[in-house]
């Protein structure tokens, strides 16, 4: 009975990233690019026009030598639930053409590239810079288009794209489940590319609502925090760090505020 309730309950796919384990190697970024047909240009050092659905930030504690500390923080789309977790994430409600949407069934913020006409209002709305505009035509060097995956549609110039929590993997897993006469997935059947690739096992992905999934417990860790929680964006990506300055870097505090 209880189990069934669990199944009926809407899913809230989310992520817990252990920053103590993350080494900043960048495998998640590349896994994401390789999985999602993310294009590249000759010069990608201008980070403000460089499409990186999942970007690893380098944080420092700002102290001089030798008290300096570094922490890496991978930032996928936070798939915000918005105020009260009703699905009104900052970006979703502003899109004038319904190109981005929030699914109550999965908690995933979708981006439909063919619907987007490139007004960039959603980018203004997103405080995490998780949304990227295709300033350039995606072009692959001759022959390299061979590695493009048919599971993710190739984007075109002039539209916004972002992390989808590898939703196509959910679709593919569901295909198999339906074929086998099932309606539900096991935890390991739907994992994002970054989670799978991370050599440090720093990323855990699953249904935050499902008590059987690892993320359900991990998000309750005493060192868990989310980015910019004060804005009430209600992100579904949790971070864990044993270092206080890192946790504090996750949000803005007035100088007068003590923890």
């Amino acid at each position: 009975m209880k189990e069934e309730q669990n199944h009926e309950k809407a899913k809230q796919f989310g992520m817990v990233i252990d920053l103590d384990k993350c080494t900043g190697c960048g495998a998640c970024m590349v896994a994401c690019m390789a999985e999602n047909n993310v294009p590249f240009k000759e010069d990608e050092s201008k980070k403000l026009d460089s499409i990186t659905w999942l970007r690893v930030y380098k944080l420092t504690n700002g102290k001089p030598f030798p008290d300096t500390e570094i922490c890496y923080l991978p930032r996928p789309c936070q798939h915000c639930g918005g105020k009260g977790n009703h699905g009104h994430s900052p970006c979703v409600s502003v899109c004038p053409a319904t190109a981005t949407d929030y699914s109550k069934e999965t908690g995933i913020v979708s981006q439909i590239y063919t619907r987007c006409f490139g007004c960039r209002y959603c980018m203004a709305a997103c405080p995490y810079h998780a949304r990227y505009f295709n300033w350039w035509d995606p072009v692959w060097p001759d022959g390299m288009e061979k590695y493009l995956s048919p599971n993710v549609s190739v984007r075109m110039r002039g539209i916004v794209e972002k992390c989808s929590f590898c939703f196509h993997r959910y679709q593919i897993a569901m295909d198999k489940a339906y074929y086998e006469g099932r309606g539900e997935l096991e935890e390991n059947e739907y994992q994002t590319a970054c989670t799978q690739a991370c050599p440090a096992n720093a990323i855990t992905f699953g249904d935050l609502n499902n008590s059987g999934h690892a993320v359900h417990e991990l998000k309750k860790d005493k060192n868990a925090f989310r980015l910019l929680e004060r804005l009430q964006t209600n992100p579904k990506v949790y971070y864990i760090s044993s270092r206080e300055w890192v946790r504090r870097a996750g949000d803005n505090y007035l100088k007068t505020e003590k923890k």
Binding site: V92, Y102, K104, E105, I112, S153, S164, M174, D175, K176
Partner: protein
């Protein structure tokens, strides 16, 4: 060079003087006959009708190019010979994905050698099987790249019949001409044969709205926050 030499008064807005000015060039003479307005109406009708013809008849002809299938396949004939209906050839793979149009590997079970006296079969065996080339079929129902369509969800989960979306293609003895939209590159079957987009049968059109219509009726999920219909990330990838 002309100089503003007019001395007439009154250029203020809202004057209701109907007095025509001097008969300078371009001025329209008073007292035009009613016969002229007949011409005006005639020209209107000419323009109207001509453009209607252009829009409804000429435009569709220009918009679509006609392409013949490499082999004229007889669905009806094959359907009689197989035991498992459409799925005999249009298979699901082990991983739940849908294989779509059969590959030669499936056909050669029967067609390694020419079986009957059909010239199309002969062409298939000689041109494709013997040369180990796949047949470049033109797929009428091919959706744009942004679409994720799960046959498993529709056929296995929802138990839908092939005919619901694809129509009675299994009864056909010959393949229809493939019409390709010159702008989009997609088959005319997606928009539907009717240029106005009117459909009579559910399979007449395969646009997003047609999917959505059924999803709203049958699935009834309201998972999308924005549209209160089913979420975009069900059919899009």
């Amino acid at each position: 060079m002309s100089k503003p030499d007019d001395k007439t008064t009154g250029i203020s807005a809202g004057t209701d003087s109907t007095e025509a000015g001097s008969s300078s060039a371009g001025g329209i003479e008073k007292g035009q006959g009613n016969g002229d307005s007949g011409f005006v109406i005639l020209f209107f009708i000419i323009g109207f009708v001509a453009s209607l013809i252009i829009g409804w008849v000429v435009f569709p002809k220009l918009l679509y190019s006609q392409k013949a299938q490499p082999i004229d396949f007889n669905h009806a004939l094959h359907l009689e010979a197989v035991s498992d209906g459409c799925e005999s050839c249009h298979l699901f793979r082990e991983d739940g994905t849908y294989a779509g149009v059969p590959s030669n590997a499936q056909c050669v079970d029967c067609h390694q050698e020419v079986q009957g006296d059909s010239p199309e079969e002969k062409k298939f065996v000689e041109e494709y099987v013997a040369k180990e080339r796949e047949v470049p079929w033109l797929v009428y129902s091919k959706q744009p790249d942004c679409v994720f369509f799960s046959h498993a969800a529709h056929v296995k989960k929802a138990g839908m019949e092939c005919i619901t979306c694809h129509g009675p293609i299994g009864e056909s003895t010959s393949l229809q001409v493939y019409e390709e939209n010159r702008i989009t590159g997609y088959s005319r079957n997606i928009w539907g044969k009717n240029i106005a987009g009117i459909k009579r049968e559910p399979w007449d059109r395969m646009k997003m709205d047609d999917c959505a219509e059924c999803h709203e009726k049958e699935a009834g999920k309201r998972s999308s926050v924005q549209t209160d219909k089913e979420a975009c990330f069900v059919c899009h990838k």
